[in-house]
């Protein structure tokens, strides 16, 4: 875990509020939270930690949009990337809602399927940004 923290700092400290910062933050946050959720065997806390991790990524995306793309033509990529962030966030939230509902309703049943789906959605959110973003925009 300490190595991952060091990685977080190494890839993002000193960076401006850029797309590359968002991608690094999202990717690292999901990686770290993926490990954190495995660290917590208790399902409700795992989903809570996963959702908090996504919210970290969402915060980065929201501020990227606010700071880098306040206008649709602020940067050439704004028109494409911001809608992708919105769509990815909506899909991820839907999956997290399913997992959260499951663990809150059935805290003692096996949540593996719902949690895996939510984790896959969070990972996909980060991958969508990585696949469609251009880090050199920063």
């Amino acid at each position: 875990m300490k190595l991952l923290i060091a990685f977080v700092l190494a890839v993002t400290l000193g960076a401006c509020s850029s797309l590359s910062t968002v991608i690094s933050t999202v990717g690292t946050a999901t990686t770290v939270y993926g490990q954190v959720t495995k660290y917590y065997a208790h399902a409700p806390k795992s989903v809570f930690a996963m959702r908090a991790g996504f919210d970290l990524a969402l915060t980065a995306a929201a501020h990227f949009k606010q700071d880098v793309c306040p206008r649709v033509d602020s940067q050439p990529f704004c028109k494409t990337v911001v809608p992708l962030l919105r769509t990815g966030a909506a899909k991820t939230i839907a999956a997290l809602d399913v997992a959260e509902s499951f663990v809150r309703t059935h805290p003692t049943l096996d949540p593996t399927s719902a949690i895996n789906a939510a984790e896959a959605a969070v990972t996909a959110f980060a991958k969508t940004e990585t696949d469609n973003g251009v880090p050199s925009h920063g």
């Binding site: 960076a15 910062t21 930690a49 908090a52 929201a62 919105r86």
Partner: protein
């Protein structure tokens, strides 16, 4: 459990470096760590607080860009 706290603090510092909402972010990370490190399941109030924070960020992302 301490590792999560360390991560949250590090992540908060990272965001604070790039973004202007340090106090809000720090409060969120502190809250998250408290819940996850707690002895009990997250309460309804905890989930609601998480959703409220998420909704605020989502509203920023979803708000139309000027000219959109």
């Amino acid at each position: 459990m301490g590792n999560l706290q360390q991560f949250l603090e590090a992540a908060g510092a990272v965001l604070a470096d790039g973004f202007a909402t340090w106090e809000e972010a720090k409060a969120f990370f502190d809250f998250t760590a408290t819940v996850v490190n707690g002895a009990t399941d997250p309460t309804d109030a905890d989930w609601t607080k998480l959703h409220d924070y998420e909704a605020k960020q989502l509203a920023i992302l979803d708000a139309p860009m000027d000219g959109e």
